[in-house]
């Protein structure tokens, strides 16, 4: 398992490939890898976002992400998992979060990556402050559904 909080722009795919090469090279039982990458959009709730500050609770974040990864590992048959999360000043298109899980069968990887993302979204101590033409605003948590309604 590998968790990292990253304070500058990063290449999520390079990180993934490097981790796979260094830590999982000899795991020939891996049959499935499910990856989720979250990136910053330039529009939110109908307004153009120029940049965003990602704050977090440094003493809690990493241990909480470990707990989320642990829970998924216990529930599904997971060989390994990584969670990378950006903090600091973020620009549109920048990677924010990468979750990857490896398993023998696809079902476990799919479910684990999904559950890690849902838990991260609702529980991990990160907050987004967006910068728009009208100034700064804290992002409100929204379900996918309510976001869709806002945009309709």
């Amino acid at each position: 398992m590998y968790i990292e909080i990253i304070n500058e722009e990063f290449d999520p795919w390079q990180k993934l490939v490097d981790y796979k090469k260094s830590q999982l090279k000899d795991r020939k039982n891996i049959g499935a890898c499910s990856v989720f990458l979250g990136t910053m959009r330039d529009i939110n709730s109908g307004e153009e976002i120029k940049s965003m500050e990602l704050q977090h609770y440094p003493e809690m974040t990493e241990s909480y992400l470990e707990k989320i990864a642990d829970n998924a590992t216990k529930k599904y048959k997971i060989i390994d998992t990584i969670i990378l999360h950006r903090v600091g000043l973020v620009s549109p298109s920048d990677p924010i979060v990468l979750v990857a899980t490896w398993s023998e069968h696809r079902e476990d990887a799919f479910e684990a990556t999904r559950e890690i993302m849902e838990a991260l979204k609702s529980e991990a101590p990160f907050w987004k402050k967006e910068s728009t033409d009208k100034g700064f605003r804290w992002v409100e948590p929204q379900t996918e559904t309510s976001e869709d309604i806002n945009e309709a």
């Binding site: 999360h85 979060v97 529980e123 907050w127």
Partner: protein, 77 residues
């Protein structure tokens, strides 16, 4: 009994600080501490509370040197 209280995001903005030390004269729950510290602020949203980096509910009883954190619903990912 002394505790450290941390504030994050919009709650930190509303309280006007990121952390403070508070001396408790008697045993208190985190809910009671929140009532005290939020008395004069304008924040009306939901509050999430962690003690020593674990989520707790309002009735959680504080111990000496606990680190209490108050923050709005999280928006990472």
């Amino acid at each position: 009994m002394i505790i450290v209280v941390k504030y994050f995001a919009s709650i930190s903005d509303a309280v006007g600080k990121t952390s403070e030390q508070i001396v408790l004269q008697h045993e208190m729950t985190v809910g009671e501490v929140w009532s005290d510290v939020s008395k004069n602020i304008k924040y009306t949203g939901k509050v999430m509370t962690a003690v020593n980096h674990e989520y707790v509910d309002d009735k959680h009883l504080l111990k000496n040197e606990d680190e209490v954190a108050f923050f709005p619903p999280v928006t990472g990912g």
